[in-house]
Point group: C2
């Protein structure tokens, strides 16, 4: 199974839960790339990030919103960036797609075939037939939104259904939709108690954990709550927008920020179990 094979390999090589979110905006692009068209500017910035971190990160996550807003140029930057990520790192398309069965099949084809991403985020609201087409790709990983990192997670995800919060119902239900060990869940680092509870209930389920840094989640706390399970702890703005000091190259700034998060992640690991590969 390709996702798990890559996961095992990247753990041997980088031993890392760090997922770098390439939520790149033109505002982040530094003066040295001034004058480039959007496609080139986004790609040049991403190239620097990838070159600076590919021996540290387990995965790169590309949120489609940041590319789609530049239209076709943005999609070209998305394609270019995927090409630049070493085959040894896991690629996650953070697309949060989901539609009726035949339509979701189109999205699955886009991200799992055309772009050959290793993993994808999907929205659960439309139920089984909206998620099933993604789960048919047994060599890929589908991360279903469960308890997201944002304030709005309180509006519906925590409401009680069948005596438990909706996000727990989503996890239990979606897990029953596949026998291929290819479903994971998005649980925000901003909900550390719930993250620990999800991990305790589902020790073998991969989690994609956003919300570190700019959103307020704490890396070490997330690692402790995750208790040694398979997890991708995502940092986007905390690395991409790390403050630069005069005379220090972007690449060094990015690498130092990534190393600093790695240290936080390892600090969290110190008092929990070792990462195990299923």
């Amino acid at each position: 199974m390709r996702f798990w094979k890559k996961y095992a390999e990247v753990q041997v090589r980088n031993s890392s839960m760090l997922c770098i979110g390439l939520d790149t905006t033109l505002e982040m692009v530094p003066p040295e790339y001034a004058g480039l068209e959007p496609r080139e500017a986004l790609t040049a910035f991403n190239r620097t990030v990838i070159e600076a971190t590919h021996d540290l990160a387990a995965a790169y996550k590309l949120n489609l919103a940041f590319y789609e807003q530049h239209g076709i140029e943005g999609w070209q930057a998305f394609e270019d960036t995927l090409q630049m990520i070493p085959a040894t790192c896991i690629t996650i398309a953070d697309a949060k797609r989901g539609d009726i069965g035949n339509t979701s099949a189109g999205y699955a084809k886009t991200f799992f075939e055309r772009y050959d991403c290793d993993a994808l985020t999907v929205a659960p609201y439309m139920g089984r037939d909206s998620v099933a087409p993604f789960l048919e790709y047994s060599d890929k990983m589908t991360f279903v939104l469960a308890l997201t990192s944002n304030e709005g997670s309180h509006d519906f995800q925590r409401k009680t259904v069948n005596g438990k919060p909706l996000y727990m119902d989503v996890i239990e239900t979606a897990r029953s939709w596949t026998a291929h060990n290819n479903v994971g869940f998005v649980v925000g680092a901003t909900h550390v108690a719930e993250l620990a509870e999800v991990r305790a209930c589902f020790p073998d389920t991969p989690l994609l954990i956003p919300g570190i840094g700019a959103q307020g989640g704490d890396a070490a706390a997330a690692v402790r709550a995750n208790a040694g399970g398979v997890a991708f702890i995502n940092v986007s703005r905390g690395i991409l927008q790390a403050p630069r000091q005069a005379g220090v190259a972007l690449r060094e700034t990015i690498r130092a920020a990534a190393l600093s998060f790695m240290k936080d992640l390892r600090h969290g690991t110190a008092d929990s179990t070792t990462i195990t590969i299923p």
Copy 2:
């Protein structure tokens, strides 16, 4: 407010609830367009549909999954198609997007600014801050998924929260997020009793009603359930894949199918109130 102005104008001109879903696939493209590249084939087919129906339809709905699966060529076809739709008809991007606040703002910018669509579908699972950036566009319409037309709508949308089905909670909650009369909901024609109930509770709320035809919903029943409210009743495959008879041009086949649905929609209207424009 542009959406409502266009709605009023198209009702004066076409007096129609018909929304044509341009869920175009290469398999639909007939022999006369053989040999074209995907961009040209999708665009040529859509041009025929639009030319055949623009005096009948109130709106065209483009589901992004059908374009995105062809990568950049598909996005070009999406852009080309939007350009071809007369300014008098409403354009709905069926994208079902939704993300944390700053990211949803990117999607809003994409569809409401870059592509200048009149309306968009969004997913509610991530709550208020994931939907609010769309609602900031007071001259556009945001259709939030409530009770979708597919089988999977039973998995979460109908579950009971606070003593009512989740989809009703979504409608009540999302309505409280804007004072601009710019939120509508997706309610499938495959749930005709629930559609009638939603309409009875929220007589002035615009509804986007998919699920007619290939998905099993009945046009006249949906119109009766809608009871004269503002609604876009979507037909995709029922028009795009209307069976062709030998010697009849695609354009005539498409137009005849659209006229047939118009008749069904009018039949439904006969015993309900007249469409009123808020």
